[in-house]
Assembly symmetry: C2
Homo-oligomer: 190 residues x 2
DNA sequence: AAGTCATTTTGAACGTCGTACAAAACTGAC
DNA sequence: GTCAGTTTTGTACGACGTTCAAAATGACTT
């Protein structure tokens, strides 16, 4: 009933995705500094006020961007883990998890969200699930590889990946994606 | 010559430390949200403008707080690593590194600094040294424990500690300091 | 065709933050 | 007591997220 009525008069055909995509692109092109509601609104040809009307707050908008990108990654992960030896699939998993370069939008987002979660208390409740997904997939992989304590080990490896990722996006000296992969491999079975 | 002349007329006897300590306390009591120049100024009985005059910018002020707290920790670390078996000293190292509780000021600071570093480019140059200190101390410990590749392993363990610490300060479900220590121990030589 | 009504969209205003700047207060030296 | 340089303050600015009331829009009724 209201489903049809509430979605009238929209300026954009698929406003949600349009905005989220553009936020992602903006993040990739200009970084965190330029990810403002005004700039984002300009890019999708609306006002900042409208973005607020639509998403409620910037916190919620950012959370939606994460949700959207994580659902993309969920698919990519499923595809990457569908074929190949356990070893290769583990490598693919890490490649998906780690930032592809300093300034990787995914990690920019997380780093922006963490202090926000510490201020708001409403943010922190939802995003914990995303980590859990990654960990579950990794645990399954590890189990398949014949590792004991797959769950705990998955937690451990993901924490390591987090630490390495932060160092990588921040561009800490003397650490490359290649190094990171070597560190992770040291924690993998056999 | 100018050393005496430039340090006249100070309202506070040791204004620097006074401010840094109060920032730390404010952080511990109220968290990131209330760590504003106005509030901090109120606490040390000055104006926000004066804090800027003194520290240059909020970024720089935060960096000074980190510098100050890291120098405290440097001493604490030296004391903690002076006596005891290698095993105990490794444990003490981790206890110092990891957040003591959700809302640990040290980690609040880092989480606040990371997005700032991503925006400013001038911040990121200096704070990389702090990690390096921790890693050097840990590497020495590992070497003493007879581990091969002490440097690489130290990097790995510190990255793990980073990941675990972030999860801990953010209060992620199902992770305690005790768990964290267990994860780290899995990476230690024995 | 005109009118209604809920929804969408906008523009202006607000509060807060970090910051810039000029004026004022202070202090030691002459 | 005046002067010069430092310290301290108050005020103002711009940017940001946010709020709010008003306007625009388009589907439905008559």
């Amino acid at each position: 009933m209201t489903v049809e009525r509430t979605r009238r008069n929209r300026k954009l055909d698929r406003p949600r995705e349009r905005v989220l995509e553009e936020a992602w692109r903006l993040l990739a092109e200009k970084g965190l500094a330029d990810l403002t509601l005004a700039e984002l609104g300009r890019r999708v040809d609306t006002s900042a006020s409208h973005l607020l009307y639509y998403f409620g707050s910037k916190d919620d908008l950012l959370l939606e961007v994460v949700r959207w990108s994580e659902s993309q990654l969920r698919e990519a992960r499923a595809a990457a883990l569908a074929t190949g030896s356990v070893q290769t699939r583990l490598r693919r998993f890490c490649e998906l998890y780690l930032p592809s370069e300093p300034g990787d939008p995914r990690w920019l987002l997380w780093i922006e969200l963490w202090p926000r979660a510490l201020r708001s208390t409403s943010l922190g409740e939802h995003y914990g699930d995303f980590d859990a997904e990654w960990r579950a997939d990794l645990a399954a992989l590890l189990e398949e590889a014949g590792a004991r304590d797959a769950t705990a080990r998955a937690r451990r490896i993901c924490a390591l990946l987090d630490g390495l990722s932060v160092a990588l996006v921040l561009g800490e000296d003397g650490l490359t994606v290649k190094d990171a992969w070597k560190h992770v491999r040291a924690l993998l079975p056999d």
